[in-house]
Point group: C2
Chain length 393, copies 2
Amino acid sequence: MSANEPGKGLVTPRGFRAAGVVAGLKSSGASDLALVVNDGPEFGAAGLFTRNKVKAAPVLWSQQVLTGGRLRAVVLNSGGANACTGPEGFQTAHATAEKAAELLGCGAIEVAVGSTGLIGRQLPRDLVLAGVEKAVAELGATAEAGLAAATAIMTTDTVAKQCAHADGAGWSIGGTTKGAGMIAPSMATMLTVLTTDAVLDRAALEPALRAAVRVSFDRLDIDGVMSTNDTVLLLASGASGVTPEPELFTEALTQVCLDLAGQMQADAEGVTKRIMVRVTGAADEDDAVTVARTVARDSLVKTALFGSDANWGRVAAAVGYSDADVDPDRLDITINGSLLCRGGVAAGGRTDADLTGPDILVAIELGLGAGTAEIRTTDLSHAYVEENSAYPS
Amino acid sequence: MSANEPGKGLVTPRGFRAAGVVAGLKSSGASDLALVVNDGPEFGAAGLFTRNKVKAAPVLWSQQVLTGGRLRAVVLNSGGANACTGPEGFQTAHATAEKAAELLGCGAIEVAVGSTGLIGRQLPRDLVLAGVEKAVAELGATAEAGLAAATAIMTTDTVAKQCAHADGAGWSIGGTTKGAGMIAPSMATMLTVLTTDAVLDRAALEPALRAAVRVSFDRLDIDGVMSTNDTVLLLASGASGVTPEPELFTEALTQVCLDLAGQMQADAEGVTKRIMVRVTGAADEDDAVTVARTVARDSLVKTALFGSDANWGRVAAAVGYSDADVDPDRLDITINGSLLCRGGVAAGGRTDADLTGPDILVAIELGLGAGTAEIRTTDLSHAYVEENSAYPS
């Protein structure tokens, strides 16, 4: 695996251009509309969307688009989720795709749309369409263009998030993501676009994307909340002329997704601690995920870790109420390397664990089988409460 | 239904005595051990316990005791949960029951034990046993004795919680509870003792207790966390000589439990808003509970309400990711009387709803069937974070 090139992101793979512009959707006047274009020669694509039953209009539109397995372009906007907006909102998403298609010379059914921001308000359609026009005029394949797109999708994110991976065989993967709150099991108000110049069709892209997301974005759980707008898209231009082995491509895509998920964790709303919950010895992988997720979501665990308190009793309680096979007498809990609970009983003083740094590893051994899983989360801090009681997402 | 007599609580029904003493388990020096004694002539009892798979020693002991369906006494302590304490912890619970039994002249198998406080530390057995001795010496049937017992079980509670109901036919119900944090679907680090002088055996008490708890304590969900120690006990002395109709008794018991649950909600850690989530029009009652609980636990909903923001979009998102049948196009959301979302689309400005007061009603109509449910919760405030990052529960 070659080194990452974080400078370019989306446009690291050949065949892609990007832009980020001010459409006027954010009252702050910051950039709020991004466009990513695949110039081919191939146009294979795959997508994954929120499992929330209340789906935003752009999700409904893009799910329809993806049934074709081809994408020429993606339009993303911040400054409004276009969710709970009814037929009018759906028409806005549709009109956005039509506008981009008209300017790029393709069909609307080849253009996906993604939105993020406040739920329940109509997007000003005229501003969105004018923004698409502006973005088409500014398309470029430079590092600046990629960064502009990554910047335009930010909401409460404090930094733009990009990643790229170049393989020695001549193909590469790039990506950008946004999401700092509402990050949840099923991916959060997370908009992610991934690009590659590998020669891969939809049939190869879909399983690779599913495999990569399953162990990255799906295992980032900041507050257990699932958004109406989660969208992950993967576009392949084929411009490298190289078809990698499926396992090799999946592995590289997974690394890019893990890198982006790590950036989201580090920039989560109000984070003061980056927490990894690692479960081993579960009856199976599903049980391991269930236990890790339950601990990662537990408000009492998260507030204790905010207070740098290795309160393993709260971890034990969370393990116990998870919907997984658990034998209390086989439970070991180790926090930042200190074994605090062995066989369900106190093993050391909880002051033995040093939690003063920003990274905390909560390792839970269930002693039942070979199932393992890791879930990344953050602490529950004053800043989380502040940001989410004031920010009208 | 007669008026409540909140002054006496546990000892309102005839046949009961109570005490609350300083055993020295709390470093603050506050009272920390309560004893409740049933003087008969009947000794029927029922109990419900946490569904957490990691159960505290007193829960394991009391579950065993309750298989007999009889209780002569209950010993409760704050200042230590006696959870994750292994065989030594179980022996402490057993020794506590034996001590009380010896002093009261009954069998240890007729004495339940309940504990609350920090998980993972052994209780100082000598102090507990000396505390039992002291409590037996101070037993009384006065309002002061009932209040002393209610006070001795407090942890982060700021007020003692009592309730009593006297029926015109000559029987009554009394109760006390504690629990201000870690209050969850399955009852919380909640210790509750209910007493009655009605003539009812175990076969009558058990279904009444299950029915009352199902719609009261089980529908109070402060932070979704389930404790290792939750215990609800119901003791019947038969001293009134009256056997009420089962429906009448269940109804009165439910009212007492709802009153106590309301006191717990009002005193929850860091509460600034008392929130009722009411779901109507669900496919069935289970779905209504699922939707209400998902909304009640959603960190983004809770922080918005802390900020007095009627952010119905976050409510809609939570409804959408609940594990219940939901049709987004039939979803209505009304907050404090203002219809904000109709048919899944914005119906009014969210500033229409006045959330400045301490009580918030979030009413969700699903438009699918006749299922209804109410879940009580609180907001997620700075004080919640403060209390739970500093208090070593």
